[in-house]
C-alpha cells in the first residue's frame, strides 16, 4: 500500500538539487540530519511570495499585506495541527531551534530558576541544548546533571529517579543527531513531571521523520527547525504549553511584541506575538508551511516506514560488506534508531573518508556533530555521519558503500 504513495524515485524528482552532479558523479545526498533538501514547491512558493505579495505582516491594512499576514498565520495553524498542540497561540516562530531553546533559557529559566536548582540533560544532547544551560549555570548557582548512556548510545535510565531529585528542568533530544538513537521521551516526561520538573524536548531530528504529537507526549516545550524538514533555513519553532508561555516574560524586545509603548514603559503583546519581536522571516514561514503540507501529503507514517526499511538495509548491507572494518555507532536494532548512520571505517579519519566520498558525489558530515560531550563518552573524536531522508533509496547506500571501499584503497 505504501508503495503506491511512497516512491523515493518519484520524490527525488521533486527536489531540484538532487539532479545535479558533484565531481562528475550524480549527487548522493546523505546529510539530511544537517539540513534537508527542499522540494520545488517550497522554493517556488517562497519566490512567489517575493514576486506577488511581499509586504510586512500584522501592520498594513492593504490587500497584499493582508495576504502575507494570512499566509504567516495559516502556517501557524498548520504547525499547530502538525504537532497536535492545544492552540495556535502555543506556536512561536523563531530563527531556528537554537533560538527556541535560548528563548526558554532566557525567559522561563531566568525567571523561574534560583540558586541550588538542578537542570538535567541527557548525554545525547546537541551543543544547542547544552550551551544555553551552561551559560545560565555560569551566571547562577545552578547544577547541571547528566543522564548517562549505555555502550550502544542509548540513555541509561537505571538511576533516573535518583538523577531527577531536585531537578526543575529536564532537557532531552527526541532523537540523537549524532547516533540516531530514539529516546523514550514520553517516559522521561512522565518521570520529570512526577518530581515537578518541566521537560524541554529538542525535536529537530524527530519532526522531519515521524509523527509529532505534543499532546500525547505531554512535554512542556519542544523546539525544532524548519530546514531539516524540507523547509528553508532561518525559521524554527518553539512550542510551549499555553499556561507556561503566558506566565513567561518576553525574550527579545522590539516591534510586534508589544501592545502599547509609552515613554515610561511597554505592555507586552498577546501570545504568540509576545515572543516574536521584529519583522519575522515571512518568506521562510510561508516556506515552512508548504514543507509541512508536503510532508503531510506523503504521510509521516509512510516516511518513518521508508526510513526504517532503508536503515535496516544499510545496517545489514554495510555489515555484510565490511564486517568489523566498519563500525556503525549507536543502537543496532533499527527500531531504536532513526536514519542516522555514524560511521568509523578502520583507521581512516572521518575527514579523509568524507573527502573521498565527496569525490564520488556522496555528501556526508564528518566531525563531532556538535556533540562533543557525547563523543567523549563514546571514546570518539569524530565520525563520518550518513543520514537518510525521504529522497534516499537503496542505490544511495550502494554508492556510499562503493565509495567507502575506494577510501579503503587510498588509506590501505
Amino acid at each position: 500500500m505504501s508503495k503506491s504513495i511512497f516512491d523515493p524515485q518519484v520524490i527525488k524528482k521533486e527536489f531540484p538539487l538532487l539532479e545535479r552532479s558533484v565531481n562528475d558523479n550524480p549527487i548522493v545526498y546523505l546529510d539530511s540530519a544537517a539540513t534537508s533538501q527542499k522540494p520545488i514547491e517550497v522554493i517556488e512558493r517562497m519566490n512567489d511570495y517575493y514576486k506577488e505579495i511581499n509586504a510586512n505582516v500584522h501592520r498594513g491594512a492593504y490587500h497584499i499585506a493582508e495576504l502575507a499576514t494570512e499566509e504567516v498565520e495559516e502556517t501557524r495553524r498548520k504547525v499547530h495541527r502538525f504537532i497536535n498542540s492545544n492552540s495556535e497561540k502555543e506556536i512561536i516562530f523563531t530563527k531556528n531551534a537554537t533560538e527556541a531553546i535560548n528563548l526558554v533559557s532566557y525567559s522561563w529559566a531566568r525567571s523561574q530558576l534560583t540558586d541550588g536548582d538542578v537542570i538535567l540533560l541527557s548525554s545525547l544532547e546537541h551543543h544547542s541544548n547544552i550551551v544555553p544551560w551552561q551559560q545560565l549555570s555560569s551566571e547562577r548557582d545552578i547544577e547541571i546533571r547528566w543522564i548517562p548512556i549505555t555502550h550502544d548510545g542509548q540513555l541509561d535510565l537505571d538511576n533516573i529517579d535518583e538523577l531527577l531529585k531536585g531537578v526543575k528542568l529536564l532537557c532531552v533530544t527526541a532523537v540523537s543527531n549524532a547516533l540516531g538513537t530514539i529516546n523514550p521521551v514520553k517516559k522521561l516526561v512522565e518521570a520529570a513531571h512526577k518530581v515537578g520538573a518541566l521537560c524541554l524536548v529538542d525535536a529537530c531530528q524527530s519532526t522531519p521523520h515521524f509523527e509529532t504529537d505534543v499532546t500525547d507526549l505531554g512535554a512542556d516545550f519542544i523546539a525544532f527547525s524548519g530546514h531539516k524538514m524540507c523547509g528553508p533555513t532561518g525559521i524554527g519553532v518553539l512550542w510551549g504549553r499555553l499556561e507556561i508561555l503566558e506566565n513567561m516574560p518576553p525574550f527579545l524586545g522590539g516591534g510586534e511584541m508589544i501592545l502599547n509603548v509609552t515613554s515610561d514603559g511597554f505592555t507586552a503583546n498577546e501570545l504568540p506575538w509576545k515572543f516574536e519581536a521584529g519583522t519575522p522571516p515571512i518568506a521562510e514561514i510561508i516556506g515552512l508551511g508548504v514543507a509541512i503540507s508536503y510532508l503531510e501529503k506523503i504521510g509521516m507514517g509512510a516516511i518513518r516506514e521508508h526510513e526504517q526499511k532503508l536503515t535496516s538495509y544499510a545496517l545489514q548491507m554495510l555489515n555484510d560488506r565490511f564486517g568489523n572494518d566498519l563500525i556503525i555507532h549507536g543502537p543496532q536494532n533499527p527500531i531504536d534508531r532513526s536514519g542516522v548512520l555514524s560511521l568509523s571505517y578502520r583507521d581512516v579519519h572521518p575527514h579523509d573518508l568524507s573527502q573521498v566520498l565527496d569525490q564520488y558525489g556522496v555528501c556526508v558530515r564528518a566531525g563531532h556533530h556538535c556533540c562533543k560531550p557525547l563523543m567523549k563518552l563514546m571514546g570518539l573524536n569524530a565520525t563520518a555521519r550518513a543520514s537518510l531522508y525521504i529522497y534516499n533509496d537503496e542505490s544511495d547506500i550502494d554508492v556510499l558503500a562503493d565509495a567507502i571501499n575506494e577510501a579503503g584503497k587510498i588509506f590501505a
Binding site: 579519519h349 575527514h351 579523509d352 573527502q355 563531532h368 573524536n381 587510498i410
Partner: protein, 154 residues
C-alpha cells in the same frame, strides 16, 4: 582513485602512516601549546625544547586527519635544529603556499623552485589549496607552533 591525487600524494600518506617526531615531551623543560580545529574536533599538541633559541627537540601529540597529521609531521622535520627566526621564515613560506589561489598553483610552483631553500616534503601539501576546508587541517600544527614562538618572544 580519480582527482584526489593532488591531495593524497604518496609523501603525505607516508607521513600520515609513519609520523615523525610523534609523542610528548615533559613540560618543563618543553614548552607545549594546543590547537583545535573546531570544525572537526581535531586537536594537536606541539612540544618544543629550545636551547639558545634553537629547536633542539619537537614532538607532536593529539589526533587528526591525514592532512593535519602529515603537515605537522613534515613541520617537525623542517624546523628541527633551526633557530626560531629560521623556523618563522619556513612558516611564512608555508603560509604563502597555503594562501595561493588554485589558479596560481603553476606560478607558485615556479617561484618556489627559484627560491634557494625549498620547502622539501612540505611542497606536497600544495594540492590542499584546491580544497579550502582542508587548509585549516594543513595549518593546524603550524598555527599551534606559532603560538609557541609568540609565547617565547613575548
Amino acid at each position: 582513485m580519480t582527482g584526489l591525487e593532488d591531495l593524497y600524494k604518496e609523501v603525505i600518506l607516508d607521513h600520515y602512516r609513519s609520523p615523525r617526531n610523534k609523542g610528548e615531551l615533559p613540560t618543563p623543560p618543553a614548552i607545549m601549546e594546543e590547537g583545535f580545529n573546531p570544525l572537526c574536533g581535531d586537536d594537536v599538541k606541539v612540544y618544543v625544547i629550545l636551547e639558545d633559541k634553537v629547536i633542539k627537540e619537537i614532538r607532536i601529540g593529539g589526533q587528526g586527519c591525514s592532512i593535519s597529521q602529515a603537515s605537522a609531521s613534515m613541520m617537525t622535520e623542517s624546523v628541527l635544529g633551526k633557530t626560531l627566526d629560521e623556523a618563522k621564515e619556513v612558516f611564512e613560506r608555508f603560509k604563502k603556499m597555503m594562501s595561493s589561489h588554485e589558479n596560481d598553483l603553476n606560478s607558485a610552483e615556479s617561484s618556489l623552485d627559484e627560491t634557494p631553500s625549498s620547502l622539501g616534503d612540505l611542497e606536497a601539501l600544495k594540492g590542499v589549496v584546491k580544497y579550502p576546508v582542508r587548509i585549516k587541517c594543513a595549518t593546524l600544527g603550524w598555527n599551534t607552533f606559532d603560538q609557541i614562538i609568540d609565547s617565547v618572544e613575548n
